[in-house]
Amino acid sequence: MTITSTADPVADAPGSPASPARKPGSLVAQDVHAWFGDHQVLSAVDLVMAAGEVTALIGPSGCGKSTFLRILNRMHELVPGAALAGQILLDGQDIYDPSLRPIESRRRVGMVFQKANPFPTMSIYDNVLAGLSLTGQKVKRRGKDNEADALVEHSLRSAGLWDEVRNRLGTPGGSLSGGQQQRLCIARSLAVRPDVLLMDEPCSALDPTSTRRVEETIRQIASEVTVVIVTHNMQQAQRVSDRCAFFLAAEGLPGHIVEQGSTSDVFERPRDERTADYVNGRFG
């Protein structure tokens, strides 16, 4: 696939940002159970992550929310002994369908990790384009219809990093600060135009200023891409998400969703006592 096939015609105009990514996708988890070996970590999870919305997954450590996140783009199966039951529907299609290759699912459902992981020796520019070259997508880097420059600029703008790095795109990705590296990873994920972007505690290693920048970025990209974010920070969940799912694992039992709904409902009018206790900081 080439970039032009999905790109907006204005993308090629000099100075204008590349076209926005395609429509965000909707992700639906149906009756998801997960195991590592004999140990069950998730039980009967049903969750709708609506297109264009930010869904926050909250809950104490070890309740399976990161496992659930990794199930959404087939990273779960990389762990030896990992098993799964249930379905993950991306725009109605099961991403675990045997006819679909995992790499296709991962390209459509991007992921940003807890620890920023840019390719440290690759330049900032090449980092943004890494996903395209890794998935064998050609993008013109030279000549007057240079698509790469526009795509790099658009992705970095979307991730809120463009102004800070526009004059040093050739420097290695590893030379950026932690917060900038995390936003570079967001830009890198956006450059492949995913339908969904998963974020696993993206701010847990960042200072408050960088955290604020990443949160602004999340709000900005929400119109382009469906976001699912795992966070331990209750204020962050309130600030960035439209909907919220509270995961909990009782002692020795697999994790499950205790309560889900709009973020304001979960935080201000929780139906379950455990949710109320958790969001008000009484445990976890």
Binding site: M75, N117, F119, A130, V192
Partner: protein
């Protein structure tokens, strides 16, 4: 500082004297430190002494021959005509052939063990490769003599007959006779390649397996195939380990003695046709002449040994620097 305090008061306050931050080490620390320091000095001392005695022993030969020692191909100490030009060329040739054989296999094996092997197979393979590195070279030599040599004859003949036209250095004088191929630089090089394979594999595997999980997952999450991930993350990360492993393998190959000694028939000329019987290396030459040499002939052997010593020292040091300076090699032992 409160608002009422004039700032100048801060300035007149005297700077206190610096305190000593050193502390007396405990007896056990002192014993351990001096013990390990002694051991470290001993290794340097031994290296230095080897270099020193080689130089002293080699001096008569170097004095007699001068620069001719490095340009003369013949080894006729009786007539005062001897040098290492032929030996040096043979040594490098055998080393290069060994690398051509060993590097691709080692690279593939290291990648398979670190990236593709199922966990149940991984551990036995690592042990096996390490075990292979510990097998004495003389075992490889015997195996090469009784098995490998015979197998390689037909390979050498095929190469010579089919590719000799395009690549004249692959021809031999009498291509139809198997004895033309029996004790060539090619056969010795392949056998040495097997000797150095486990070493190179071990180093490459070590650096590959250290490629950060975060970056691996980052590439996978972007939709990369396994091979794409390896190209984007593992190989750039392990580049210095690859180079260092190859150089270390070369260092071993240059010094390999018994395997070459067992396989070749010595000549004292430049080996221009690696498939044809007859070559020589410094190490094999020293081993074959050591017992029958005295006087300047013996000094000449020591001088040849000194050159080999310097050669391998430089290559191994360079390999060590390349590996340790890299991101991947910081924690790698070579």
């Amino acid at each position: 500082m409160s608002a009422e305090t004039p700032p100048t008061l801060e300035l007149v306050r005297p700077v206190p004297q610096r305190r000593s931050l050193s502390s007396r080490p405990t007896t056990s620390d002192r014993v351990f430190v001096s013990g390990s320091r002694l051991a470290a000095i001993a290794t340097l001392l031994i290296m230095g002494l080897i270099g020193y005695f080689l130089t002293v022993g080699a001096w008569p030969a170097l004095e007699q021959q001068g620069w001719q020692f490095f340009t003369e191909k013949q080894w006729l100490p009786e007539t005062g005509q001897y040098g290492i030009a032929g030996l040096l060329e043979g040594t490098v040739l055998v080393g290069v052939i060994a690398l051509i054989v060993a590097v691709p296999v080692s690279f593939g094996a290291a990648l398979f063990i670190s990236e593709y092997a199922p966990p149940a197979l991984k551990r036995p393979l690592v042990t096996l490769v390490d075990l292979m590195a510990a097998v004495p070279a003389v075992i490889y030599a015997i195996w090469a003599l009784i098995f490998l040599q015979a197998q390689l004859l037909s390979v050498a003949q095929w190469l010579s007959v089919h590719l000799g036209g395009a690549l004249p250095f692959l021809t031999v004088k009498t291509p139809d006779s198997p004895s033309s191929y029996t004790s060539s630089a090619f056969i010795a090089g392949v056998a040495v390649g097997f000797v150095i394979m486990p070493t190179i594999t071990s180093i490459m595997r070590e650096v590959f397996s250290q490629a950060p999980v975060g970056e691996r997952e980052g590439a996978i999450a972007l939709g990369a195939t396994k091979w794409g991930m390896i190209r984007a993350v593992v190989l750039p990360f392990g580049r210095a380990g690859i180079i260092g492993g190859i150089m270390l393998g070369l260092g071993r190959a240059l010094g390999e003695t018994i395997v070459v000694y067992a396989l070749i028939s010595p000549i004292f000329d430049w080996t221009t046709h690696p498939l044809e019987s007859g070559t020589n290396t410094i190490a094999a030459h020293i081993a074959s002449r050591y017992s029958e040499s005295n006087g300047n002939a013996f000094a000449g052997l020591l001088a040849a040994g000194m050159v080999l010593f310097a050669f391998t020292l430089v290559i191994n040091t360079a390999a060590g620097i390349v590996v340790s300076r890299s991101r991947s090699g910081a924690a790698t032992e070579i």
